[in-house]
């Protein structure tokens, strides 16, 4: 009896200690996660511009957002950027990582060269790219086209074209993904490659028969991170749009993304209700896409040692 009571007392103390140790996270989550989400949810049903008291408007904000063509432009652009950049990170990232996985003279230098550009923040990159893609026919890229006798393009001003400039900028950030893929490839047991070689597989066959299947956990992780990152694109779009008139999202909203649209609603128009609606749309789209990838990954994901069991 005595030892049982003592054991229960110890367990209880340990539980209390455990709760106390995770309490900072819980407090943080409540204060900076759940509470703001709750307020944001409330804001979707009110009209509020900071100056006047919030006024309950029911579903009016939802109607305003979903009836506004700008929302659909922003949604389309965001999905193009998300899938476009994710595909670039996935395809080129894995290929480059596979090429850098072998150790040869100068391989470390190449790894550093690939990785360094990804350290540049988005705003700085967009400011560097503005003279390249912007400035009408005086932009650097258009000057090159002119030299080649080709007509100049409205890279940032043509609706439907500007968003592909942002997708193209994904190459700049390839390096961070390459490093993660590289770590994943390095973590594959070399015996798999030896076995494949013995079976007569060449380099390319080893790549898609051994490397890719055993890299699926990393691919899953990078896909989800890429999608979340793509859905949150803002700094590139904002900086590129700054060459247009103040407050706009580019010519005919060509550079509108969901987060950029949220920003203009909240901090240009001070329409907090509609901004909150867009915020929830971003959250739900992120959640849905992540769930889809999780479901799909169950069919394709391999964990080397588990599979062998």
């Amino acid at each position: 009896m005595g030892s049982g009571t003592r054991k229960m007392g110890i367990e209880k103390r340990e539980k209390i200690a455990g709760l106390l140790l995770v309490s900072p996270w819980i407090v943080g989550f409540l204060l900076f996660g759940l509470f703001p989400m709750g307020v944001s949810g409330y804001l979707t049903f009110v009209k509020w511009d900071f100056l006047r008291d919030p006024q309950w408007v029911g579903l009016s904000n939802f109607q305003d957002v979903f009836r506004n063509p700008i929302f659909y432009t922003a949604l389309k652009n965001t999905l193009i950027i998300t899938f476009g950049s994710s595909l670039i990170y996935l395809v080129f990232g894995v290929i480059i990582a596979a090429m850098l996985a072998k150790d040869y003279l100068g391989s470390n230098v190449f790894r550093a060269i690939i990785f360094l550009p990804s350290l540049v923040i988005g705003t700085a990159l967009a400011m560097m790219m503005q003279p390249v893609f912007g400035n009408g026919k005086y932009g650097l890229l258009n000057q090159v086209l002119n030299l080649l006798g080709l007509p100049y393009q409205s890279w940032l001003t043509e609706p439907g074209q500007a968003v592909w400039v942002i997708v193209a900028m994904s190459f700049w950030f390839l390096g961070s993904g390459v490093i993660i893929y590289l770590a994943g490839i390095k973590g594959i047991d070399p015996s798999y490659f030896e076995a494949a070689m013995i079976d007569g597989a060449n380099g390319l066959q080893q790549f898609y028969k051994v490397t890719i299947p055993l890299l699926t956990p990393v691919l899953l992780f990078q896909s989800i991170m890429g999608i979340i990152g793509g859905l949150q694109v803002f700094d590139l779009a904002l900086t590129l749009a700054s060459e247009f008139k103040t407050g706009g999202m580019g010519n005919e909203n060509s550079l509108a993304t969901l987060v950029f649209y949220l920003y203009t609603l909240a901090f240009r128009d001070y329409n907090m209700g509609s901004a909150a609606v867009v915020g929830w749309v971003i959250f739900i789209v992120s959640l849905l896409l992540s769930l889809v990838i999780f479901r799909l990954s169950k069919k394709f994901q391999l964990f080397g040692e588990e599979e062998s069991k």
Partner: protein, 448 residues
């Protein structure tokens, strides 16, 4: 060991709670000290019947030379009112509206704030502006201003802003480039039709060398000006209705297209950047023969040794002469703790003395006598700069308020029109179809 763990855990939680409490008490103590500061500031002006020094905060958009001129203007006020000091803050126009909004939201706004008429509209039902009619001497002060300018800032009988001046833009030409192109100088008083204007631009372009351009015109103002001349403005004066979709409106839109697609105008999407400057600075680049700017650019043109001349804006065939203007004002926030002193500043700004001084470096005054004297003085002093303005001085129409989305829509349609992706009729129809809901929503958001 377990006791130590429990002790450490408890200490960590207590530390978090203490930090959280300290932050909130820190905020409230700063608020209370600000509060007591506000109260003492209000009492400061008069103690024991003696005028004590009051410090006002003033906010306006300005940069460079303009900033210096406004500061000098405020110094004149300080000389006239030695017990009132004015701390001024000037910001670039691009960041100005955000700062104003933030200040008004925080309740820590300056005592006197400058506004354009379109930005002022966003706040009129938010109870942030003082009704100036309640201040002493208001009736007499506003009675000396032009009626249109005063009524533009009156909301249901409350005077929520004091007009200060009307900024205007007109085309300016580089006379040397016209001579070089062997094109006769246009009249400074008689406006040309759009057809004549296109012909002039093409002749100038043909006579220019290299990558020079005949014109870098302000697309939005050109369109608005042509629409006004046709008797069918793009928007109603209160900004609530799209009015471009009419036969006269379509005529004006077509005239706009003819000018902008003449081949002698900087490409519409490059108007504000690139080697040709922008419509305000185009002439000073030396590469453009016709710009579109206001009196604020005259000094820069002089410094660039440009032989300039202002001319009236083009009109549609059979149209009337009008001019687009920007009506600017000052407002006193209800949160100001120095209302009396702030009103002294505003009253001085709209007095004849203040307005005459203002008219020498900025927009045209709204004080009737000062406007008349200023126009005559400016035209006598620099007829090249000011005669073009006088052609339409009796019919200046302030730009109406509109939301940014509407501006983006209109700009996009302008670009499509010039590149033949839409016709003038389609422009008018789309502007109405897509723009009217934007205006309705904007009015609903700022409404009562």
């Amino acid at each position: 060991m377990k006791a130590l763990k429990a002790f450490l855990s408890t200490s960590l939680v207590i530390a978090i709670l203490l930090v959280t409490a300290a932050c909130s008490s820190g905020n409230s103590s700063s608020e209370s000290s600000a509060g007591s500061g506000v109260e003492s500031g209000a009492q400061q002006s008069k103690e024991n019947g003696v005028e004590k020094e009051v410090t006002l905060r003033y906010l306006r958009w300005a940069s460079g030379e303009e900033e210096v001129n406004f500061r000098n203007w405020l110094d004149e006020f300080e000389n006239a009112y030695p017990n009132i000091k004015v701390e001024s803050e000037f910001l670039p126009y691009e960041t100005y509206s955000s700062k104003v909004k933030t200040d008004l939201i925080s309740g820590n706004a300056p005592d006197v704030i400058a506004f354009t008429s379109s930005e002022w509209v966003a706040y009129i039902y938010s109870n942030v502006f003082l009704d100036l009619n309640t201040m002493p001497g208001a009736k007499e002060a506003f009675g000396q201003l032009t009626e249109d300018s005063v009524s533009a800032f009156n909301v249901d009988g409350a005077q929520l802003g004091a007009p200060i001046g009307v900024g205007r833009r007109v085309p300016f030409i580089n006379k040397d480039l016209f001579v070089k192109a062997n094109v006769p100088l246009p009249s400074q008083t008689e406006p040309m039709t759009a057809t004549q204007w296109v012909e002039m631009m093409r002749k100038v372009q043909a006579g220019l060398e290299g990558d020079m351009m005949a014109a870098n015109l302000f697309p939005e103002e050109l369109l608005y000006s042509l629409a006004l001349s046709a008797g069918s403005p793009i928007l109603s004066q209160d900004g609530k209705k799209v009015m471009a979709n009419s036969p006269e409106g379509v005529k004006a839109i077509q005239a706009f297209k003819d000018i902008m697609a003449s081949g002698a105008q900087v490409p519409i999407l490059d108007v504000w950047k690139g080697a040709y400057g922008n419509p305000d600075s185009a002439l000073t680049t030396g590469k453009v023969a016709i710009g579109w700017t206001g009196t604020w650019s005259v000094k820069a043109m002089k410094e660039a040794n440009i032989d300039y001349m202002s001319i009236p804006a083009p009109i549609v065939e059979g149209g009337k002469t009008t001019q687009v203007g920007y009506l600017n004002s000052h407002a006193i926030p209800t949160s100001s703790s120095n209302r009396e002193a702030a009103w002294e500043l505003v009253k001085w700004m709209i007095s004849k003395e203040g307005q005459l001084s203002f008219g020498k470096f900025s927009d045209l005054p709204v004080h009737k006598e000062a406007l008349d004297e200023t126009q005559k003085a400016l035209e006598a002093e620099d007829p090249n700069a000011y005669t073009g303005f006088s052609a339409a001085k009796a019919s200046v129409v302030p730009t109406p308020p509109f939301p940014s989305d509407f501006d983006t829509l209109r700009t996009g349609l302008q670009s499509k029109l010039v590149s033949d992706k839409v016709t003038a009729q389609q422009f008018a129809e789309q502007l109405e179809k897509e723009g009217q809901p934007m205006l309705d929503k904007y009015q609903a958001n700022i409404g009562k």
